[in-house]
């Protein structure tokens, strides 16, 4: 008799499993359902997108968006509880950790471009940034042409240094371009007069200036080296069901006006930990994008 009861239980269990299987979950959604957890990749110093506050807790604009996506995933999978795991990433580790399944979403400041789409997917754009340069007010560099023959720094391996190199050739500037290891070091080069200008995404420049010893000494150029390029939350490639949920969540967020609210919270008000204010109101391009969300990697699509 006992044996029969076991077989009966087994049958019930099999039935239950095949019931769940009827939803035919695959990829990331199946993983999340099975483990009851989703893992977010965060950056430790990408202010104000994703960084650590004074309690060493990751916060930021991209983190807020990711938490909204998590809510949508939870609703989609009809889970009572969804554990959110946090995993730090750097620009060097974000791809391997995404590829090997350690993180499900990367919440940072990653440029969405065609080259990268060969490796990963992106959801709707959450920010647009153009390549500009920061300089000391005292050096009075008005336009890109004023960089002629000067020493200019940018961060190694970024799209910015590529654009700078191209402009240097195209405009015959003859500028001495030096690569820096990271943004902080590149800014230090300008701070210590090793270079006259630092070419980078304008929003990152704004946060570096706001966090510097004397923000009033620095100016960000009007001239840009590029059209505004899109930032996106990164997810695994070839996972259409998960991307559908994520895209729907971000689209709903941006079109509802809540996206604008979260934007204002991080870009036009004081942000932790030091109460900096980046004073960067939403651009017309981004406002358009929020009205009609898009995951296109092509800058020309955002006008």
């Amino acid at each position: 008799m006992k044996h029969f009861r076991h077989i009966g239980l087994a049958l019930v269990a099999t039935f239950a499993v095949s019931q769940a299987g009827a939803e035919e979950l695959t990829g990331t959604l199946k993983n999340i359902k099975d483990t009851g957890a989703i893992t977010l990749g965060f950056r430790d110093s990408s202010i104000p997108f994703s960084y650590l506050d004074d309690n060493q807790k990751p916060v930021g604009f991209a983190m807020d968006i990711c938490y909204k996506i998590v809510d949508a995933v939870k609703k989609e999978l009809k889970l009572d509880k969804l554990e959110v795991k946090l995993n730090p990433v750097t620009s060097a580790t974000r791809i391997p950790l995404m590829a090997n399944g350690t993180i499900d979403l990367e919440c940072g400041s990653t440029t969405n471009n065609a080259e990268r789409q060969k490796q990963v997917a992106f959801t709707n754009t959450h920010f647009l940034t153009a390549s500009r340069y920061v300089f000391k007010k005292s050096s009075g560099l008005k336009s890109i042409d004023d960089l002629k023959g000067k020493t200019v720094v940018s961060t190694a391996g970024t799209t910015n240094i590529k654009q700078l190199t191209e402009a240097n050739v195209a405009k015959g500037l003859g500028a001495n371009i030096i690569p820096a290891k990271d943004h902080a070091e590149a800014f230090l080069m300008v701070e210590t007069d090793r270079a006259v200008a630092f070419v980078m995404d304008d929003i990152l420049l704004a946060s570096l200036v706001a966090g510097s010893k004397s923000p009033d000494d620095y100016v960000i150029s009007k001239d840009a080296f590029s059209k505004p390029e899109p930032y996106g939350i990164m997810l695994r490639k070839d996972d259409a069901p998960f991307k559908k949920v994520v895209d729907a969540a971000t689209a709903a967020l941006y079109t509802s006006g809540e996206g604008q609210k979260i934007y204002d919270k991080w870009f036009t008000a004081k942000i932790p930990p030091k109460g900096l204010n980046l004073n960067t109101p939403i651009s017309a391009e981004l406002k358009n994008e929020f009205a009609k969300p898009s995951d296109s990697p092509i800058p020309d699509d955002y006008k």
């Binding site: 391997p96 990963v120 020493t151 720094v153 190694a156 391996g157 190199t165 070091e185 080069m189 695994r236």
Partner: protein, 243 residues
């Protein structure tokens, strides 16, 4: 793993417009070798001087050598390069500091000299150990022959000591090459730096670092082979390395 492998990436044009990705890595290798060779020359010259000073009867010379070694050996290389590159120019008078900062190729010179001094401390300790391992009678015999201290070192002690420490010196040279990777922290885009640039541009992380690893291994294998020949060539029959 959900990763899109693309080994053909090395032959795709790089976005800097300087040929393909492989050219980018090879230009990094050239910079790595230039930096390592200059650093090694500096390490050998200063390491030999300091190593000898630490074995001289003079108390002053000994203490100078002692301080040199402890100063350069006890600080992480990463910190030293940062200090030389960012802090030193701020401590100098303004004009001198500005001149130093605006020197062309400043990261290269800073890296080569910084790594050279760091390695010189290690060469010095090894040379001191090599000289110390010689029988005491050798120095006395040199004196008895009427050689001055300088001549004694030149003709008797150093030729022996250098032969004895040749194998560990090989490892130090390999270390010098590997240590150049630290120079990306001051903006020298050598082999590791180029591999990092490549992964940032193309997002092909594993291919970039696999290639960098192979290039390092190959370079070091060539150097080890060369050094084995040198060891055999200078070996003295009957001595440690001369069986």
């Amino acid at each position: 793993m959900n990763y899109h492998w693309n080994w053909g990436i090395f032959f795709e044009p790089n976005p800097m417009g300087t040929g393909n990705y492989l050219d980018m890595l090879l230009s990094g290798l050239v910079l790595t070798l230039k930096t390592a060779l200059l650093a090694w020359v500096i390490a050998l010259i200063f390491g030999s001087l300091i190593g000898v000073m630490r074995t001289l009867p003079s108390k002053g010379a000994y203490w100078f050598g002692f301080c040199w070694v402890e100063f350069f050996r006890n600080m992480p290389l990463l910190v030293q390069l940062f200090l030389w590159f960012f802090v030193l120019p701020e401590l100098l008078p303004k004009a001198a500091g500005l001149w130093l900062k605006q020197l062309p190729n400043a990261p290269f010179w800073t890296a080569a000299i910084g790594i050279g001094f760091f390695m010189s401390a290690r060469v010095a300790v090894q040379l001191q150990a090599g000289i110390g391992s010689l029988p005491r009678g050798q120095k006395m015999a040199a004196t008895a022959l009427g050689l001055t201290t300088v001549q004694g070192y030149r003709y008797v002690l150093l030729p022996m000591a250098f032969r004895i420490i040749l194998p560990p010196l090989t490892s130090e040279f390999l270390n010098t090459i590997k240590n150049t990777a630290v120079a990306i922290t001051i903006g020298l885009v050598e082999l590791t730096g180029q591999a990092r640039s490549m992964q940032e541009f193309s997002f092909q992380v594993f291919e970039a670092f696999t290639a960098a690893t192979l290039i390092y291994l190959l370079t070091n294998a060539i150097i080890v082979t060369g050094m084995r020949f040198l060891e055999r060539y200078v070996a003295i029959p009957g001595y440690i390395s001369g069986k």
